[in-house]
């Protein structure tokens, strides 16, 4: 069963239809890269799946269970939206770290708040918090920041901040981790460290969707590539299929424009 299945997602901003019925699905451990020209709706798609925008139509399934249904007339409660949200993690282009907290605190904040809702929180408070702390430290070590845990975001380079934000998203054990152009706010010499971290996650079977303009990176790390144009999916296949033998003219055009 697909870990994520997105069906016929439609999103309008006023009169403009930005997403015109997006379908795709992915299996556990799969890495999908989404490419496409500026304005094609990649960010909007990620925001709809992560409930930062509400889609106008469509359905989203996680492990076969419907977590969003555009046809449903019932208004979802904030608690239901939160629960659905916790299936996913999102890494932003602009990091969005919390400036008043250290790298470690950025990673532990949400898990600690979430732990308060556990039934056994009062009894096992200390163990629970210690475990969260340990887990956060392990995640920061995994992204190569074991010696910067006490640093504030303003004391870190862009690449380091983005690595903290990846650790922060991983701390909640999302079923699918989404990246929206994780390297495009960074100086070119810093993109490598982020791409290395993502590749490492891919090797450890983290399920990921990566919106990126780094085509060669997409080719190397992704199991599948989706090409979007004007709010529709035009190609969905292996990197060879999409990048080397694109079916659609627009894809060919997009790819050749990148080489010039």
């Amino acid at each position: 069963m697909s870990i994520l299945e997105v069906k016929n997602i439609v999103k309008n901003f006023g009169k403009i239809q930005v997403l015109k019925g997006i379908d795709f699905s992915m299996e556990k451990g799969e890495v999908v890269a989404i490419i496409g020209s500026s304005g094609s709706g990649k960010t909007t798609l990620l925001r709809c799946i992560n409930f930062l925008e509400e889609a106008d139509k469509g359905q989203i399934f996680v492990n076969g269970q419907c977590i969003y249904d555009g046809e449903s007339t019932e208004k979802r409660t904030p608690a239901q939206i939160r629960e659905a949200q916790l299936n996913f993690g999102l890494v932003f282009q602009s990091f969005n770290l919390f400036p008043q907290y250290t790298a470690l605190e950025n990673v532990t904040l949400a898990p600690k708040l979430l732990a308060k809702e556990r039934a056994d929180y009062k009894e096992n408070k200390k163990e629970i918090l210690d475990e969260i702390e340990e887990n956060a430290k392990a995640l920061l070590a995994r992204v190569g920041l074991e010696d910067r845990m006490g640093s504030y975001p303003c004391q870190l380079s862009g690449g380091q901040q983005q690595r903290v934000s990846i650790a922060r998203a991983l701390a909640l054990n999302p079923k699918v981790l989404f990246f929206d152009e994780p390297t495009s706010a960074l100086d070119p010499e810093l993109t490598g460290e982020i791409l290395r971290v993502i590749r490492d996650l891919a090797n450890k079977d983290v399920t990921m969707v990566i919106v990126t303009h780094e085509i060669e990176f997409a080719r190397n790390v992704a199991d599948r590539i989706i090409f979007m144009a004007d709010g529709v999916v035009l190609e969905d296949g292996t990197p060879e299929e999409v990048l080397d033998h694109p079916k659609n003219e627009k894809t060919q055009h997009f790819l050749s424009s990148l080489n010039h």
Binding site: F92, F98, A169
Partner: protein, 214 residues
């Protein structure tokens, strides 16, 4: 009427000044936050209502508001509902809460949408996002304008004497009847000391929050 007697009378006046100051601050700080939520409300009628209220309160001189709160209920009902002191405090709290609310609003709106969204995708509730992420950043950003308002408040307390409350200026002015002008100028020493302490306090807070940049 030697120097010490006069100093003592002025200190009595200063006590009233301090009480108006402290009560206004303690009540207007939280009330201002509530008003700022009202003016930022997505429910338009509420936000317009609150904005109109803020416009009126900021538009009418505080001195008039003090007079209105004390005398007008008396005219209408035939008896005053608030004591002199409570009317002054009420007028100051409402007035300052409105000014604070605009400072809060500016601070809250200056925080990037990304901060809210980052909290939201981490499964935090709206309340958690506000108190754990946004508020601290707002406090840091509004500290300087708040210091300004608080310092203005120290001196605005002198308006209380329009309804015959003997705060420090009125206490000094009482001596003018005896041909003594210098106590009036002498009050500025107390004001300067008061404001000096506040300035030190605010720069201490600023240093405390200096450990990060946003």
């Amino acid at each position: 009427m030697n120097f010490w007697n006069i100093t003592l009378s002025l200190l009595e006046g200063l006590e009233k000044t301090c009480m108006i100051f402290a009560l206004t601050l303690v009540l207007a700080l939280p009330l201002g936050l509530i008003i700022s939520f009202g003016s930022m409300s997505k429910f338009k009628p509420l936000s317009y209502l609150v904005k109109t209220f803020v416009w009126i309160i900021r538009g009418v001189p505080l001195m008039l508001q003090v007079i209105i709160l004390f005398y007008v209920p008396g005219f209408i009902l035939g008896y005053p509902i608030l004591s002199r002191f409570s009317s002054v405090v009420a007028a100051f709290v409402i007035n300052y809460a409105c000014y604070f609310s605009e400072i809060y609003r500016g601070g809250i709106e200056s925080i990037s949408k990304g901060q809210y969204e980052a909290g939201q995708v981490l499964g935090m509730t709206k309340t958690q996002v506000f108190f754990k992420i946004i508020l601290m950043q707002v406090v840091k950003r509004i500290l300087a304008p708040m210091a300004n308002e608080v310092i203005t408040l120290v001196k605005d307390t002198a308006l209380a004497r329009v309804i015959m409350i003997v705060e420090i200026i009125q206490a000094a002015q009482n001596f003018a009847g005896y041909g003594l002008m210098w106590p009036l100028f002498y009050t500025s020493v107390f004001y300067l000391a008061f404001v000096g302490i506040l300035t030190l306090l605010f720069s201490y807070f600023e240093k405390k929050l200096d450990y990060y940049k946003s």
